[in-house]
């Protein structure tokens, strides 16, 4: 998208700015009373000052408002505006960027609350609407589409007349369309309705509904019948679109839930398939992976603060290693003695999980710990009106796919993978072919635990990290493994995705809990029909 205004206007704009900046202190003088008002204790006075700054059209006002929004604005008693910085660098003069000396105790930090923010956002939009940068103008236009009042109409029309960027024109037109719904001119109203229908913006649907509503005396809010009919048609179109968007949204939510389940359950599928023991401490591997992410995050934050946004890069292999090592330790010390006794190993691993939880509680505290999302994982992509795809969830779907691919490669293309598959399918035969089954068992357990660690890192980005993190995922992991069948990855994928998608489609009709209950009962019944799961290993030895 090109980002230039009409060249003539840009030059004119630049010239005006240059002229203005040649008058030292002039603009500052104009704004000084407003700055003093910003420092007021009364929130309504601050709001007034903000609105006035927005109407001023002064580019300096834009810097002031942006600083105010970001929490970096400081005001001296004399009314000078200074910018403070998070990282501890000295105060700067607003606009010029020069270092400024000021008594820190006399500085006032202006009060910002939701009420003030609600005024700042449209004020900034007003000022940004004439910015030379296209992306800024687009953002401003979108903001005005949501919050503009009739007083902004003139400005928007003026900018629209000069605007050449199609996306920005669209945003401005829809903003104007909303205001035009109450325009006395019938044709403008009709035009506005058609524009709204084309955009499918659900925010404006209620305005349309208002148009078709009847007042108490039977007369309609909208006197013209054709306009009413157009409004009704528009509402219908918007609803249809929303249903479609809803269906797609549920699919995507289901995929993301399925990926979470997959990452949580893949390790369990590997170990259960290989060794026939259910590892009740699997959830704790997830938890340890999440805590590893926390530790790495803290380390990077203190040692290499500039690289904080990339802390996940070392966190993933670190979590894999930590959990793999813990897995090896557990397998060598305790589980090794319990082979052939799956029920006992179930109980023993439950005991291990209690111990691990308590150790983590004593070391890190019973409280949850903060794991911050790096900036590139915060927020989302607005795919359609009303559908936002959070980046974190998209990343988890991708991570799940990558992990599955890597595990598949390992199992299918390496000699270790060959040995693992051999031992899974027929242990005695593999042993007699010279495979060191005990060693393969240890490595498989390490692999399963390591994958769980990676799953834990993913979970840390979505929700809580606390000692009991694993407990909430253990039953789900079991269900995925039981449903999908044991011993192969395809089963785990099918189980996880199936459960995730079905749950999300059920949820809008029942509530989340009933959906889960139905799924559990379904699995219990499904197991009767097909005890070995969806994708079971074939062969006599496999059923042993």
């Amino acid at each position: 998208m090109s980002s230039r205004m009409n060249p003539v206007a840009a030059r004119l704009f630049a010239a005006v700015v240059c002229l203005l900046s040649l008058l030292p202190g002039a603009e500052a003088a104009d704004l000084r009373p407003l700055l003093k008002q910003l420092a007021s204790d009364e929130r309504s006075a601050v709001v007034e000052a903000v609105e006035a700054l927005g109407n001023s059209g002064d580019p300096l006002a834009l810097s002031i408002l942006e600083a105010l929004q970001g929490g970096t604005l400081r005001l001296t008693p004399a009314g000078r505006a200074l910018i403070a910085s998070d990282t501890g660098s000295p105060l700067q003069e607003l606009g010029s960027g020069k270092a400024a000396a000021a008594d820190p105790t006399a500085l006032v930090t202006p009060l910002v609350s939701n009420q003030v923010r609600r005024a700042i956002e449209p004020a900034i939009a007003q000022l940004q609407l004439v910015s030379p940068d296209g992306a800024t103008r687009l953002k401003a236009a979108r903001e005005l589409a949501r919050r503009a009042g009739p007083e902004d109409a003139a400005l928007m029309r003026a900018v629209l007349a000069r605007e050449t960027e199609p996306e920005i024109r669209l945003a401005l037109e829809s903003a104007l369309a909303r205001l035009d719904l109450t325009n006395p001119d019938r044709d403008l109203r009709l035009q506005a309705i058609r524009r709204i229908q084309a955009q499918g913006d659900i925010q404006l649907k209620s305005e349309l509904v208002r148009l078709t509503a009847a007042k108490e005396d039977g007369a309609f809010a909208e006197p013209d019948a054709e306009v009413r009919a157009a409004a009704a048609a528009a509402i219908h179109a918007i609803d249809r679109r929303q249903t479609l968007v809803g269906l797609v949204a549920n699919l995507l939510y289901g995929l993301s839930l399925g990926s979470v389940l997959l990452l949580a359950a893949l390790g369990l599928a590997i170990t259960f398939g290989q060794m026939g023991i259910i590892n009740m401490a699997h959830g704790e591997m997830l938890m340890l992976g999440a805590y590893t992410a926390y530790a790495i995050q803290n380390f990077v934050r203190s040692a290499l603060p500039g690289l904080f946004d990339y802390y996940l890069v070392p966190a993933l292999p670190a979590a894999f290693l930590v959990c793999a090592l813990v897995g090896i330790a557990l397998e060598r010390s305790i589980l090794r003695f319990l082979y052939g006794r799956p029920l006992e190993s179930l109980l023993a691993t439950w005991g291990i999980s209690l111990v691990i939880i308590q150790v983590v509680r004593l070391v890190f505290g019973a409280q949850n710990v903060t794991v911050a999302n790096p900036s590139w994982l915060s927020g989302g992509y607005a795919a359609a009106p009303g559908l936002v795809l959070p980046y974190s969830r998209v990343a988890i779907v991708l991570l799940g796919a990558i992990v599955v691919a890597l595990v598949w490669l390992l199992l299918q293309r390496t000699s270790l993978g060959l040995q693992i598959r051999a031992v899974t399918q027929n242990r005695p035969m593999a042993a007699s072919m010279g495979v060191r089954t005990a060693w393969v068992d240890t490595l498989t357990f390490a692999l399963g635990s390591g994958v769980a660690g990676i799953g834990g890192v993913a979970l840390s980005q979505l929700g809580n990290v606390g000692p009991e993190l694993g407990q909430s995922y253990i039953v789900d992991s079991f269900m995925v493994v039981v449903l999908g069948g044991v011993g192969n990855i395809g089963g785990a994928i099918a189980g996880a995705m199936g459960l995730g998608i079905v749950a999300k489609y059920l949820e809008p009709f029942t509530d989340a809990v009933l959906a889960k209950i139905f799924l559990l009962l379904f699995i219990i019944l499904f197991i009767q029909k097909r005890p070995q799961g969806l994708f079971a290993l074939k062969g006599r030895a496999a059923e042993g």
Binding site: L343, L347, V513, L520, I524, Q528, P531
Partner: protein, 398 residues
Amino acid sequence: MHGRLESIASLHTRRGWLAFLAITLTVMVGLPLLNLLPPAGGRLHLPDFLIPLLGKFFCYGIVALAMDLIWGYVGVLSLGHGVFFALGGYAMGMHLMRSIGTEGVYRSKLPDFMVFLDWKELPWYWQGFDHFWFAALMALLVPTGLAYVFGFFAFRSRIRGVYFSIITQALTFAMMLLFFRNNTGFGGNNGLTDFKRLLGFSLHAHSTKVSLYLVSGAALALSYLACRFVVSSKLGRLLAAIRDAESRIMFSGYNPLDYKLFAWTLSALLCGLAGALYVPQVGIINPGEMQPSNSIEMAIWVAVGGRGTLVGPLLGALLVNGAKSVFTVVYPEAWLFLLGGLFIGVTLFLPRGLLGLFDSAGQVWRRARKRPGPAHNPRSDDEPAATLTPMTPDGAAE
């Protein structure tokens, strides 16, 4: 009649019967007397709060028996038995809620939680619980019914081993989620609480607590005898055979489904009974009883005591719960370490539980006593009637 008496008498050896009677007398007569007779604060006085606590332990003992029946003797590890216990408890709890009458917080005919949910009348599944006999019947029938349906489908499909354990977890988890919903109508997260009276007797009166203690003790004794009867009979041997070599049993012409189902439903019935006795003594029933970790702890009572012995699990239940009560006061942080360590230690070092340990210790002791004197033939010693030493019941034979 004589044959019947004889068959009961043969449940234990003479020493066994003496031990049984001695313990029963101490618990049912001795302890209550120690509580009621000596003056409060005196050295011999059994503190008041121990009575409902021990009564609670008796209920846990019945559950331990039920678990041993299907795990120790049939080889089926259920990690969801808490659901049967809780259902029995809910049935009794519903009756106790109805007994509150209009003395609840909202002074309404309906239970308090229905008032804050804005329900105007009693749902159909609450009808009938005003009557004690109905509630008692439901406390036994509902868990049994659920167990029958679940067991029928599960055993028919020959689900066994870890798979079976996992789906019992799924069952109890699903039921827990269901009961946590306020809309399900059983009090949601709060559960049923604030009970006032049972059959006209105030639940806060000490005499009622002692009575409940005695009833629980009697129920435990009778359950024990019933289980002992089952496992000593031909049916018991069949169950043990199913545990050890199910395929072979099938080839011998028996349908294991019927026998497993019988043991399974009997075990659920016992849990329901235990739950019904538990609730009046504890004063609250809520979905937390159905959480998977509770059921897994029930398995550890059996493992600690010794599977397949009936006595072992009772011992295990008493020890583990006693330790829990002590440790959560004295050293709360250490309790989970101890419990976890118990799980690990018992499965690794004590596969036959404490009773197995005593048994081995006893054998070593006896052998040591016989060592001096070469003329002495060790084999002629009369060993006590061998307790049924279980083979490790796992999926090895499957």
